[in-house]
């Protein structure tokens, strides 16, 4: 799976055309990358409203929330930055496509197949908050599709503000809002302590709106088809669709646009094998490496919306969903991922700097055989000591991942204590960046 990381991840798509613009899905992902000509034929030109603030009410009615992981209402950020900008006379908008979560591939996929939707959304958000500067922040060097889209839009004069592209360092925290502002300002992509919020005082001290690339694509469609159209799918409290990156046994990762509220079973399977002797699943990971492990016995009723997931201590996050194959060791997977998360601590806050490596070492011990008796209690205590004590949410997300793993893989911990392991396949399942570990200084 790790070897697949540099290849484009395939996505599921439906036939294009008018049906797609009705309630049907996918809304965001055409079958093949769309250049500007195809984009304009399907959607028409960027629907500028002609005045700042005009789109806020539609976005509020739509119920759109941020698709980068935090699910914060988009209209509130738009309104806050527009207000602060009216006082200061300048604002900045950033399309965040850094997607520094190694298991998430959805923004990369979106920027490849529908770059013009993201760029429309960026310009529309810029108009809405009266921006004087716009940026596109990417994890990798920009792909040919995005460069072509920018060039074609330049020729047509579609973009009112020139887009500056900045490449994020390959660090887990590089997409965190304060880290984005630091990096765009020429510094390292390190988080800072808030307040002030970046919506009040961000890049160059200007009020700064940072929206995930997918969020901006949804915004571009809401601007065209209106909030009622947007709400035609999803749940009443969490409308719309979201992009997910799906990992299943014996399958390549797949980017799927799912209606919010879809049963997780539909996306991840029911845990049984493929009928051809392939492994089934033993547990689900929802929300990526800051997410939550769920036991399959809870699976029946869970749907892809935070109201449902919250009952199981989980959240959809940036849409990373994984069904861990039954032939792997959950503890080995967890130890490997948490080792990565510990190495990805910015090292700025004492509890995270001290706690995460200890937690990672404790998990590595559990993943081996015959661990010491106090190791589990140590892990619980260290988890409590790092939670809520960082400038960013890295310790909190890591602890959510760890605590849920200790519960879900409890039986396996007992097996390992007796010197056994139920896994038959030792190949790593969850993807991590190649070339790990990254150097501590490598934040730019």
């Amino acid at each position: 799976m790790t070897t697949a990381l540099n290849m484009p991840v395939p996505h599921e798509s439906a036939p294009g055309g008018a049906a797609r613009q009705a309630a049907g899905l996918p809304r965001l992902l055409p079958a093949a990358p769309e250049d500007l000509r195809a984009h304009l034929a399907r959607y028409g030109p960027t629907p500028y409203r002609g005045q700042p603030g005009a789109l806020v009410a539609d976005v509020e009615t739509s119920g759109l929330t941020g698709r980068g992981g935090a699910a914060f209402p988009v209209y509130r950020k738009l309104a806050a930055v527009a207000r602060a900008g009216a006082r200061q006379g300048r604002t900045v908008v950033v399309a965040n496509g850094a997607e520094s979560e190694p298991a998430s591939r959805k923004d990369e996929c979106l920027l490849r197949v529908a770059p013009n939707l993201v760029l429309d959304g960026l310009q529309l958000a810029a108009e809405t908050v009266g921006a004087t500067e716009v940026h596109l922040y990417l994890h990798r060097a920009p792909g040919p599709e995005i460069l072509r889209a920018l060039a074609e839009r330049g020729v047509r004069g579609l973009d009112r503000l020139a887009v500056t592209i900045t490449q994020a360092p390959p660090r887990f925290l590089a997409g965190q809002e304060t880290a984005v502002v630091n990096r765009l300002g020429g510094g390292p992509a390190l988080p800072t302590f808030q307040p002030p919020r970046v919506s009040e005082r961000g890049l160059g001290s200007a009020p700064t709106l940072i929206q995930n690339a997918e969020t901006l694509a949804h915004l571009a469609l809401i601007a065209r088809y209106g909030p009622r159209w947007f709400r035609a799918v999803g749940t009443a409290t969490e409308p719309g669709s979201m992009l997910t990156t799906i990992y299943r046994p014996r399958a390549r990762p797949l980017v799927v646009e799912a209606e919010i509220g879809t049963p997780l079973r539909t996306l991840l399977g029911d845990g049984d094998g493929d009928g051809a002797g392939g492994p089934g699943a033993q547990a689900w990971l929802v929300g990526g490496y800051h997410g939550t492990w769920l036991p399959l016995r809870d699976a029946a009723g869970i749907t892809l919306d935070n109201a449902s997931l919250r009952r199981f201590g989980a959240a959809a996050g940036a849409g990373v969903l994984a069904a861990l194959p039954s032939d792997r060791c959950g503890l080995a997977e967890v130890a490997r991922v948490v080792g990565y998360l510990a190495a990805e601590s910015a090292g700025q806050c004492g509890p995270c700097l001290n706690g995460l490596p200890r937690i990672a070492a404790g998990l590595a011990e559990l993943a081996g055989r015959g661990h010491r008796r106090q190791t589990r209690a140590d892990l619980e205590r260290w988890s409590g000591l790092v939670e809520g004590r960082g400038a960013c949410h890295h310790p909190d997300g890591t602890v959510r991942f760890v605590r849920s793993a200790l519960t879900v893989f409890g039986p396996e911990i007992h097996r390992h204590a007796r010197g056994q392991c139920s896994a038959t396949d030792r190949a790593p399942f969850l993807p991590l960046p190649q070339g790990m570990p990254t150097s501590e200084e490598d934040w730019t």
Binding site: C349, G350, L385
Partner: protein
């Protein structure tokens, strides 16, 4: 107006002065970093809290209006 103590975890270097000056509201974790009572500072501890804020060598401890 009630105030609460807050640590900037990036500037905090774990000197531990706050826990010495204000043990009623600040304890140290096993690595020497402060764990601060999240509630409002009681009036009786107001002076102590101000001394702890003033005494932090890293200027990492703040009193915030809650």
């Amino acid at each position: 107006m009630a105030e609460t103590l807050r640590v900037n975890p990036i500037t905090c270097a774990g000197h531990g002065v706050c826990a010495e000056l204000l043990p009623e509201l600040v304890t140290l974790d096993e690595w020497g970093y402060p764990i601060v009572d999240p509630g409002p500072v009681p009036p009786a501890l107001d002076r102590g809290a101000r001394r702890a804020v003033a005494g932090c060598p890293a200027l990492a401890l703040k009193l915030l209006r809650s």
